[in-house]
Symmetry: C2
Subunit: 266 residues, 2 copies
Amino acid sequence: MKRPGRVPDSPFWVEPGDIDPAGGRLHLSPEESHHLLRVFRASAGTPFEAIDGSGLLYRCVLEETERGIAVGRVESKVEESGELPLELGLLVGLPDMAQVESILTHAIPLGATSIDFFGAERSSQGALSAQKLDRMERLSRSALKQSRRSRLPALRSSTGLGAALEGILEGGEKYLADPGGEEGLGLLGDLKKTGQSHGIIAIGPPGGFLEVELEQLRSRGFRAISLGPSRLSTSTATFALLTVVRNLLLIHRLPRVDKTGLSGYL
Amino acid sequence: MKRPGRVPDSPFWVEPGDIDPAGGRLHLSPEESHHLLRVFRASAGTPFEAIDGSGLLYRCVLEETERGIAVGRVESKVEESGELPLELGLLVGLPDMAQVESILTHAIPLGATSIDFFGAERSSQGALSAQKLDRMERLSRSALKQSRRSRLPALRSSTGLGAALEGILEGGEKYLADPGGEEGLGLLGDLKKTGQSHGIIAIGPPGGFLEVELEQLRSRGFRAISLGPSRLSTSTATFALLTVVRNLLLIHRLPRVDKTGLSGYL
């Protein structure tokens, strides 16, 4: 007896070019098709979801299978599905690859919209190679799908802090994690006044920022925040500052919440 | 030519029984002695620090070496070194071991004072075995040293939520992460009024809490908080809720900050 398939609980990735221009049908890549058809044993009529990283979630029904490729009929689209109404940019002094992967795994579900792993003065290597960046891009897509977000964060690896700062948007609330900075809670009052929807945080590499880098950040309007009396790794500091800034920016704006499919934690 | 040793930047672990009752001398375990004497090439007069997990940091100078064991003379003690003036208890529905390790690695530097990985209804296994708990205990000590904290969190693995709730302290601000809960920022107003120094957070296992568990938590005073429109893993949700509650509890109390040795991130 053939067991019935489960309905997939995470969206599938679809390349933007694989959605027909009228938006009525889409086809998945061979890899994603295999996942839908074999792992989930989908058959004609099985509902599934797809994202292309642009902020749209496509609710589909499996229409047919063409030589192992799943073709879906788009029933409806949800804009900005799973997205916060915030821009959250991360400038992270490049740590080792284990920390890079950990940051992507946790910071993407928490809503990061751009991440630049820049080669800081104390980073043990320069910018990430194209191959490594490509591997990180795949990890980002996977984190996006698992977290049911729909807009793929921009991923960069600048050669240094100067280049990283050229890539950030103007304006926004800017904070840097610095053990010698103010206590984290000092930032609360100011944020309540600004009502910004755009935060940029800068985290030092293992060993921390050099004074010249701190000065560069301060002159661009970054405010130094201490995250407490203990010593944090680059990744832990990233989670702590991201979460605090994200939460504080949300004080004045309720997120566009689409709770569909949010039955619990992964 | 013998290269000079580096001064160790993380404290060493010392068993409470290996500190002489008057507190003037201590000796490290064979493993920690090896690390100090071989990796850091310490010799008589080299300064180092030690913690025993009770909240005291011992500033020492290497006095002598007895058959491979480092003996330190205690020069001074620092109370609650690296500690927040907060109790932060975590009840985490047991996830897979990779997530357990990730939670210890990041939540201990962020100041967790107790962690119970309890067997929740949707956990794929019951409580952690004694062997696994023992391995987690070693990982906790390592996270404590790296983060320069001095008080070892209590580590437990209760068989279920009921048993976990029996183990928590009375009082405190209690929050549970629930995709169907209020938006996270709702909690801000209340905390400003209470000025509590004790927070307890509950995070569901992969798949989330069952309704009966949510009801059990609510009846014990836990307030359901949504962490946003995306789906988070148990570990990501733990970091997010811990950081927000930690920061909000700190609004009314400046931490006892000892910045010595905080030259940057790991």
